[in-house]
Symmetry: C2
Subunit: 337 residues, 2 copies
Amino acid sequence: MSDVTIKDIARMAGVSHTTVSRALNDSPLINPETKERIKSIAGSLNYTPNYNAKSLVLDRSYNLGLFFTTLHQGTSSGFLYAALRGVNEVIKDGYNLIVRGIDDYTSFHHVNRKSFDGIIVMSQSAADQPFIEYAAQRAIPLIVLNRQIEMDGVWNLVPDDQSGAYRMTEYLLQCGHRRIAIIEGKPGFKSSHARKEGYLDALRSAGIEPEDELCMRGEYDFESGYQAMVRILELKDRPSAVFCSSDDMALGAVKAAAERGVRVPDDISVAGFDDTLYSAFITPALTTVRRPIEEMSRAGAEKLVAFIEKKHVEDHKRMFRTELVIRDSVKPISEGD
Amino acid sequence: MSDVTIKDIARMAGVSHTTVSRALNDSPLINPETKERIKSIAGSLNYTPNYNAKSLVLDRSYNLGLFFTTLHQGTSSGFLYAALRGVNEVIKDGYNLIVRGIDDYTSFHHVNRKSFDGIIVMSQSAADQPFIEYAAQRAIPLIVLNRQIEMDGVWNLVPDDQSGAYRMTEYLLQCGHRRIAIIEGKPGFKSSHARKEGYLDALRSAGIEPEDELCMRGEYDFESGYQAMVRILELKDRPSAVFCSSDDMALGAVKAAAERGVRVPDDISVAGFDDTLYSAFITPALTTVRRPIEEMSRAGAEKLVAFIEKKHVEDHKRMFRTELVIRDSVKPISEGD
DNA sequence: CTGAAAGCGCTAACAG
DNA sequence: CTGTTAGCGCTTTCAG
């Protein structure tokens, strides 16, 4: 049924299977008429090439990998979704997109040039480094998104988290906030570090010395945001604004505040980071920083596919601008410090 | 470098490549000592089998497909995430998971038994039917999740949306609500239909005739929930509760209410459906219906893999119980009708 | 423009 | 227990 081969077609067309192969691949060597004839027979037989055979001889797998640090924790569903969409928009037919968490691999044995024409790593942590190096060393076309890495010959597209955090903090300062707390991201994630740095820089630029007391640990998820906010609200000297390193944590923070009768933004301002799908829709709508995940993924996939198909090279590093999204969860304060 | 073949190993071990093949595949025919020797040589050479060659001869692709109706609209990121996690937990190594939106296919040519050892369809709409039939007809091991289908020989695991909606509506009635509006899901999605049916059934069981005026169209997303709620609030005779066919729409509804000074749940109750990740964390925490997407996906993947590997068959249909999750967005009303 | 022959890397009879 | 041989379906020299 679906096991028609080029030999079957060859027999029916009265030509050799070589000719069929060439015709189906649009070789210019073939007489247009026989080519048409062969194609129509193939069509009527509902022929589908055996990609395993093609792969073997052409040394291409038609597989692209999209790998995340983890699919268990720290990866928000919105992040996954945006990345998947961005990549899928580009690759259309012609490639299979294989999605996986790097921490699901027990060994990297299955990761090699024969099995992957190219790999996109959505990296969120330095824990990916061994995987990235493994792939690079196996000479698999490779592009690393989201996390900055220092490797030659590996493409790297990242959002400018630090300047995003800087601008957000700056904005909070402009709104008159002086004591600004931060709820940090998952320890070990480069993005957590970059966001905190941006926050610290902005504070210092404004001549404000950061206070350790106002730096809370978080895990990027709702629950940790909630917990951190509880601790913040218990502070004797409560800050007037809280910069959360993710929207998920900002949600948790808002929730914790609401449960304690503290109103956002009237009693305390809360800012997020990520601009997840729902941030615009919750109450209060979240003031946050947008990362261009989907655009970045699209650009990455385009680069990768172009390289695989045309061996076309270009600049290797690029930063994607983040964007301040001002909504309702941050409020200027009138009274001085 | 990564191009070591069994022939290279054979040469070094002083045996035939057949022996190497057998040894590496743990054939009982091989002398344990030579087997060990061969394996250690393979290890030191960092040998990786060429899966394209294996695929060709074994007629297995080592690919599993996870297909969604669409990756563009109507699929929430939480849904995608839960499904992906559930499946990935099961397949571990040994299979590549290929993720795709069915509506991204321009033709199904690439979908065949040579390219997929099995397929999981996360179906959300009857629009998938052609795809499902195509795959079934090509004799690809197939399992359809989430949407009920009528086809023999195709496994089908679905959440009981209708009874979930029924129980939610029943709960609203128990809370004293008489006029209950519904914001419906995306037209054409089977789940939209099932949820509405559950709602209607419960109403009728309570002797209440459903009112057309209280049935609002929606699209499963935030924005449509918002819009629908605006229309509900403009009604002369406003209902005391709103059953939203998705949490995303419930969020939109809450937002619309808040903006108009209508408090949830004090002035109006809002119920959702899905129990997305954030529904517990927003204010007010959403009363909703949980669908066991991740469990369902896990069960589906297990069935599929078992079938592929052991040709083991079992019952073909199964319904997964949905669960009422009572939180804060619905409030009993004391005053009578 | 077309065909014969070889081979991609691996597994599977079939003989020993 | 091991080797010889053939072949999976396709592309690619190399000759016409």
